[in-house]
């Protein structure tokens, strides 16, 4: 555990851009796509709120059941609105924040691609489509986190996020395919309607584990939490976008989406509750430990993700409602606060909590936005955060499994949130101003409008919760539970247990805020005493992987041709031999097949060639003798009516002899270094391979031959492919894709060999 990024202090590099550079009006065009999409989604609100579900799409790979189909219901629309709406503000903000940056255009493109991937992910109605977009978000977020590619730290963080979420993505792919097979369809809407059958399926547990592996890595659940704070190497607008509304919520979306299909079982409830609770509490402790405002916010995001996971583990409607409401409110305040930290960073040149005081005088609008967002985060009335918190406590108490555990975790995490909200968003603005690297100044309109608007929404929806209760929360909750629910949001619920817990939270949180510097110092000592942090463990893991790769390369890739051949042939003998034994052995035919004179002649030719090869005194003679064996085999093909194969065999043998002869002419005439021990060993291996191959052939000939495929080719060759030579028709028509793969391999292998030959020559010349 600990603070992987505790070394990350001060301001982030602006990649050579001068903060004073003027934002361009043309850059505002990047807003268009997200704005149009946001308006489009907003017009769908009444339809969805009325309980309808929209499905559109077209067939993609119909033979595999893969469709590009979209499903718009309460859950996906809520996400889509958050993604596109906050996207508009982020694009607007970035245009000013990164003004003058030489790669601003690239940045906005990455951002747009990321937004589209994210929208595809939340709107997909097909498991495979969902997965494709899931991976696209991984790739685009890699580009965004590593945007400052000149910094080694940014590259490391980007790679870490990529590897970790990519590994989770692979697990998810396996899980989704198993889920699709279990359900008999890859369409989500059909799977979700069939939850009972899936939960009763024999593969339910593996499916669940694989899907959760994907969701937990993406949403930074303990013990995969460490990549998220490291991802703060990205420019602040990216952090605001990826860690408020999107990327990290992809895992949450997946959990919510799968709830009707996989949720509600005991395994689901316990896994989500425990992982979520542990993540939430640990992350909020780590958030208290940070001095960098951005890092503190990053850990509170992990805390929020833990909380969301914990509540999605619940089955009661109120728990789901708590999760959905908290999802919305968290997106608002977290995006706002990240943007505020960006403004502070931009305006003062530092993000260190202890260096920032009294900024309200210099940046009044930012201060108000920060205060409003922070109060929502801390869960004070009359903000939406308060409603979400009350719902959380109500939901925690309604959890069937372990209400005391969930409620305790929620209260602890929320109390620390109150303290962190104070540290991050209130303390820097009040008190006596401290000197900062740059003279603080108010941000431009394009930068403060985002946080101001988001903070205002948190207040507006808190005062008039009915604005979102029926339009967003209720349809989303219905989509998660899989049945029509009615959700009612209100500030005042009467004097009850949740309110008491709220008061307790405030008391604890304010207490923590007062003593937070002592707490932070103590946490720093604990952290220093820990043997290893998750981030260091990750490095060890990667080092171990590289070490293993180096070892096995040294063993397997010795560079000695004889060793390669030995490995190949002994593997062949052992694997095929073992398979033969396990499959019940081979019946040796009693009657020896009667052979004609010409058959005997071919056998004699092959045998003579083999013996000559072994006892030849020179390499050239051995190669020629081997060619004789090949010609004998070609004769066998001719006798069994395969002229094409025979011709090919003959030509290849000729070429091999020519090629090897060309090489051999340059090698020493005799082979003085051959040891008899080694020769005997080679002989044993050769005999074993020969015997195993013979036995295999006998076994193959004894089995019944399935005529389906030859019959099909015989029947279809002339009418469908206008060709009488079936071998060639198969090569160039029926299985042309295979042939294409093969000629590609031939060409690439030739290029590789060519480069090797030339490389040797160059080395010799120099």
């Amino acid at each position: 555990m600990g603070a992987p990024g505790s070394s990350m202090t001060g301001t982030e590099a602006h990649g050579g851009g001068k903060p004073s550079s003027e934002p361009t009006v043309l850059g505002l065009l990047w807003i268009l796509p997200s704005a149009v999409l946001a308006i489009l989604f907003a017009t769908l609100l009444p339809t969805i709120a009325a309980g309808e579900v929209i499905r559109v799409g077209f067939a993609w790979v119909p033979s595999l059941g893969i469709n590009f189909s979209l499903l718009i219901d309460g859950l996906s629309l809520t996400f889509a609105l958050l993604i596109s709406g906050i996207g508009v503000l982020i694009v607007l903000y970035s245009n000013t924040y990164l003004a003058g940056h030489p790669q601003l255009g690239r940045f906005q493109l990455f951002l747009l691609l990321f937004m589209l991937s994210m929208l595809g992910l939340v709107l997909a109605d097909n498991l495979i489509t969902l997965f494709v977009f899931w991976e696209l978000t991984t790739v685009t977020s890699y580009l965004l986190i590593g945007f400052d590619h000149a910094s080694a730290k940014a590259r490391r963080s980007a790679l870490q996020a990529l590897l970790l979420t990519g590994a989770g993505g692979l697990a998810l792919l396996a899980g989704l395919i198993m889920l699709g097979l279990a359900a008999g369809t890859f369409e989500l809407s059909e799977i979700l309607a069939n939850g009972d059958a899936i939960r009763a399926h024999a593969n339910y547990l593996p499916i669940l584990i694989l899907v959760l592996a994907g969701a937990f890595t993406k949403s930074a659940q303990f013990p995969f939490h460490f990549w998220l704070p490291n991802a703060m190497a990205a420019p602040t607008p990216v952090s605001a976008y990826l860690h408020s509304a999107t990327m990290v919520k992809a895992g949450i979306y997946l959990l919510a989406r799968m709830h009707p299909a996989l949720g509600g079982t005991e395994v689901w409830v316990w896994t989500l509750t425990i992982f979520g609770a542990v993540t939430a509490v640990l992350a909020s402790i780590m958030a208290l430990r940070q001095t960098d405002l951005k890092l503190a916010l990053a850990y509170t995001t992990v805390m929020a993700l833990g909380t969301l996971t914990m509540f999605l583990g619940g089955t009661a409607t109120v728990a789901i409602a708590a999760a959905m409401t908290f999802l919305i409110v968290h997106s608002f305040y977290k995006a706002a606060l990240f943007l505020v930290v960006g403004i502070i960073d931009h305006g003062t040149g530092t993000r260190e909590a202890d260096q920032l005081r009294g900024l309200a005088r210099a940046m009044p609008i930012t201060a108000i936005a920060a205060a409003v967002a922070a109060l929502s985060m801390a869960g004070f009335p009359p903000f939406l955060g308060f409603i979400a918190k009350e719902l959380k406590y109500e939901g925690a108490l309604a959890v069937a499994s372990e209400p005391a555990f969930v409620a305790t975790a929620a209260v602890l995490a929320n109390a620390m949130m109150v303290a962190v909200a104070g540290i991050v968003a209130l303390r820097p603005f009040f008190g006596q101003p401290l000197p900062t690297p740059k003279a603080p100044h108010e941000a431009r309109f394009a930068m403060w409008i985002g946080p101001a608007l988001l903070a205002a929404l948190g207040l507006l929806f808190g005062l008039v919760p009915s604005l979102i209760a029926g339009t967003l929360v209720q349809p989303a909750v219905s989509a998660v539970t899989g049945q029509q629910e009615s959700v009612y949001l209100a500030l005042w619920h009467g004097i009850n247990l949740p309110l008491m817990l709220s008061l307790l939270t405030f008391a604890l949180g304010i207490g923590l805020y007062i003593v937070h510097r002592q707490v932070r110092a103590r946490l720093a000592r604990v952290e220093a005493a820990l043997p290893i942090s998750a981030d260091e463990a990750w490095d060890r893991l990667l080092d171990g992987l590289k070490w293993l790769a180096a070892i096995q390369t040294r063993v397997l890739q010795s560079g000695v041709l004889r060793n390669y051949l030995f490995i190949v042939f002994s593997t062949l003998a052992v694997m095929v031999g073992a398979t033969l034994l396990i499959a019940g052995g081979v019946r040796i035919p009693q009657a020896f097949p009667s052979l004609l004179v010409k058959d005997w002649a071919v056998v004699a030719l092959i045998a003579a060639g083999g013996i000559l090869t072994v006892f030849a005194k020179s390499r050239l003679a051995a190669v020629c003798a081997l060619g004789v064996v090949g010609i004998g085999v070609a004769l066998v093909f001719v006798m069994f009516g395969a002229p094409d194969v025979a011709i090919t065999q003959l030509l290849v043998e000729t070429l091999v002899v020519v090629l090897v002869a060309v090489v051999m002419l340059r090698l020493p005439f005799l082979e003085p270094d051959r040891k008899t021990v080694r020769r005997r060993f080679d002989a044993v291996l050769a005999v074993v391979v020969g015997v195993v191959t013979t036995l295999t052939l006998i076994a193959v000939v004894q089995g019944p031959i399935d005529r389906t495929i030859p019959d099909f080719f015989e029947a279809a060759s002339v009418p469908d492919a206008y060709g009488r030579n079936i071998v060639n028709v198969v090569l160039v028509d029926f299985r042309a894709l295979d042939t294409f793969g093969e000629i590609a391999v031939v060409a690439i292998a030739a290029l590789g060999a060519y480069a090797l030959i030339r490389g040797v020559r160059k080395r010799r010349e120099s």
Partner: protein, 139 residues
């Protein structure tokens, strides 16, 4: 190799082999043959020339770098596979054109399948020659 007999005999022999290789390529769809076999025969013809006249002379008569031949072949094969995609059919579906007569009749059959086979021919020829010539020069 400095054998005068080999040098003299190679010229007509190599030319014949090239002609024969194209014949094998052309007849492949109905009789034993095809792009792979044709490509091998052509490669052996050139290899013979390279052994008797030297790699530099073989490169001169070839005019094009063998690696380019292989890549052109690969491109032809891809193109042949892509053609049916323009009419919405699966990749690598054979498309036929019977010049001068009705389908399946005695017209001149042209097809993406033949184009694909020519691609195979060129890949095999180019790849084998790239190796043979490089090895010949490796002295």
């Amino acid at each position: 190799m400095k054998s005068l007999i080999l040098r003299t005999a190679t010229r007509p022999l190599a030319a014949l082999m090239l002609l024969f290789s194209i014949y094998m390529l052309w007849r492949g769809h109905n009789e034993p043959g095809g792009g792979f076999i044709g490509g091998l025969i052509a490669a052996i013809g050139y290899a013979l020339y390279a052994i008797s006249h030297g790699a530099a002379a073989a490169r001169r008569v070839l005019r094009v770098d063998p690696r380019v031949i292989a890549m052109v072949g690969l491109a032809l094969a891809i193109f042949a596979g892509l053609v049916p995609a323009f009419s919405g059919e699966p990749l690598f579906t054979g498309k036929w054109l019977f010049l001068g007569d009705y389908e399946g009749g005695s017209g001149l059959p042209l097809s993406t399948v033949l184009l694909f086979d020519i691609g195979v021919y060129l890949v095999v020829l180019g790849s084998v020659l790239a190796l043979v010539l490089a090895l010949e020069e490796e002295t």
